[in-house]
Symmetry: C2
Subunit: 416 residues, 2 copies
């Protein structure tokens, strides 16, 4: 099938052969080399303070307070603007983060190991809905919850995961797809299945009944708890595909609230960026599109591995939540994604399409040829710092990223 076809088949083999296992939760600074004092990781491609959007600035300020680098949000903002904080993409440190995606050294991160290839990925714990740091929230309530995750929940979940030998994740997603999850805007099934598997180990780890109950309640009370697990899965699965000579498969899509960036297997770690688009969606009561920040977060790693918007057929209920229309529309979003991908996942299947596998392996050639951009289910943050989530919707990856990537790929292949 030619050099590109062979390279893409190798990419698919690595995606389908992956074996992601959640093995531990540790402080980020302990496991991510280089995540030192005054270093923050953020979602999306590289960006400096001057070009950061409101919610990202809000999360940066909150993280500076959480880490004890500034006594107040105002002073944190001044510190960040002074150039004394180093900003790097999560993706440069084997990590991913939802929305603002801030990862700082004391935050607990989940460690997902891809047992087939030995690589590891990291993602913070999901904070819940509403006013949370990933949507730019940064007040006492937000910081207090992050401290509780760091001091109480993180260490107990760590002990539970070590005691049970980790949690295998591929099967949870397979079941979740038959239970209405698409793993981006809907994770209620996977979150419930995950807790069901973790809870006995939690019971054996934590002997303080009230503390144990509060941890089970926190995880069980958050239908999106699994989102961050799913993102770490995506990073762990896609990283071994990151540098296959001749492959035209997208290995990462992410946004920092200002720029959308993609990486492609055959062009290694280069970023191809374009301005992010504004999601079309449904807003929570009291908010509208004029309050919304454009698209942000590393969570598009979910779509990169064939889920989220790509698996909308699994989830007619999410189609309503993101304002995407009827049950038939949900099927059609997925059907369109088969046009721009090179494979169908044999283990992650869609009951409503008679168990066809999710469309997997976005081919930049097909995107450019068909003019069909990858569809993304996303949360929507308020554009001011400190407010939080205001809605959810559907957005497309900017076509310009794929055009640039295809040009660079052609140049590298010597066919420009």
């Amino acid at each position: 099938m030619g050099r590109i076809g062979d390279a893409n088949q190798e990419a698919l083999r690595r995606v389908f052969g992956a074996d992601p296992v959640l093995i531990d939760v540790r402080p980020a600074g302990e496991v991510i080399a280089g995540l030192d004092e005054h270093v923050l990781l953020h979602a999306g491609p590289p960006i400096d303070w001057e070009r950061m959007c409101g919610p990202l600035r809000g999360a940066v300020a909150g993280a500076c307070v959480l880490e004890g680098w500034a006594p107040s949000l105002d002073e944190a903002g001044a510190l960040a603007a002074s150039g004394k904080i180093a900003f790097h993409p999560n993706h440069h440190f084997d990590a991913v983060g939802p929305m603002t995606g801030i990862t700082s050294r004391s935050q607990p991160v989940m460690i997902v190991e891809n047992r087939k290839f030995g690589n590891r990925s990291y993602c913070t714990l999901n904070e819940g809905l509403g006013k949370v740091m990933r949507f730019g929230g940064n007040d006492e309530e937000v910081i207090g919850r992050l401290r509780w995750l760091r001091d109480v929940l993180g260490p107990v979940v760590s002990g539970a995961l070590r005691s049970c030998g980790g949690i295998s994740l591929k099967g949870i997603i397979a079941r979740g797809l038959s239970m209405g999850d698409e793993m981006h805007q809907r994770n209620v099934a996977c979150s419930s299945l995950f807790l069901r598997e973790l809870a006995p180990a939690l019971a054996r780890t934590e002997s303080d009944s009230e503390k144990l109950a509060s941890i089970i309640e926190f995880i069980g009370g958050n239908d999106q708890f699994f989102l961050n697990v799913g993102m770490a899965i995506g990073k762990a699965i896609m990283d071994p595909v990151r540098d296959i000579d001749g492959a035209t498969i997208v290995t990462a899509m992410c946004r920092n609230g200002t720029d959308f960036g993609i990486r492609v297997s055959g062009t290694g770690d280069a970023w191809f960026t374009a301005p992010v688009e504004m999601p079309k969606g449904l807003y929570f009561p009291g908010y509208s599109e004029k309050d919304a920040n454009p698209d942000m977060g590393d969570s598009t790693i979910i779509e990169t591995m064939g889920l989220g918007g790509f698996a909308m057929a699994a989830s007619p209920a999410v189609a309503g939540f993101v304002g995407a229309g009827s049950a038939m529309d949900a099927l059609n979003f997925t059907r369109a994604m088969y046009e721009i991908t090179v494979g169908e996942n044999p283990e992650w299947t869609l009951p409503s399409l008679d168990f066809r596998g999710v469309p997997t392996g976005i081919d930049i050639r097909k995107v450019v040829e068909t003019g069909i951009a990858p569809v993304i289910n996303t949360g929507i943050a308020h554009r001011e710092p400190g407010v939080g989530q205001v809605g959810a919707g559907v957005v497309h990856a900017p076509m310009a990223c794929f055009e640039q990537a295809l040009e660079a790929f052609a140049e590298k292949m010597g066919v420009a």
Copy 2:
């Protein structure tokens, strides 16, 4: 709309207005008046030992050993055949039971209270899959598990339910329908959501970590745990409809493995029976239709309230499990049930049918007029005592039950 129409609307109001809450787990003999020494309740309409099928006889023998009425299965069989055991339908004691449906005095039963009408219903705890008493299993392993449910799990779940004030159930079913459950042959979502809600209370109730973990593991390891909860919900919801003058709505469908019986609102507690049919389905490896017992169990209370086969559209995954065909076939099973029902549940909706409510209120007139019999998703038991489940499939309620009921109804209305 005339007397029958008004009566049926009143029936629907009672069904939709119900508010089932799981309030406790108690030994059956403590809460079910008349469930004394040497009394056993069984699934389906009335039947005596001579006409009982193999798995029902097997479960009877097992229950006699469990209760200490006989030292061995052989002696238990002789005791049952001697006429010294009194057999009654669960339905005559506010109870329901899956498959063989044996309820004996020491077994823990869940208590569901319909807070709108004040009535209560009872159902045993689900034992898991495979060789279990509800499928006619009765060996040491089966009896041992029932003792553990009685002595360990039952009392802890009782304490947890009392401490948290009970678990409201209508919302769990609503969510389950958006997560691929139809609540008869597929309960993985509801079982997970139920455990998620119960687990914090379990943690606060049981301080022995290993015991707590084993209880969470048992519930979490059984995707059908919620089936028995759902059945108690069905009984609690349908009982207030049991005697509305002029109503043609079915209030119970059940089978004892020999006879299928229905009750109709306008004819009160009379049973209309006909021979049960053989399910068409898929068999576990090593088994075939020649091993199968005909249809059995009170679990058709699930279909009676509009779920199970009636809600197949929620569950393309179950269509495969019961051998009912493709995702489109699943939709069509549900569509057919709208032809024989008088309403659509406003709270229990089907995402794949753009949130149309489940077909509710089986009208015996429509069944007879259209010739469309209610469709039932069911488990299949081996026809010999002691073996257990051998498959799952789809079966229809016998048309003769509805014809008899319509004749009796007409006679009562004075239009025969």
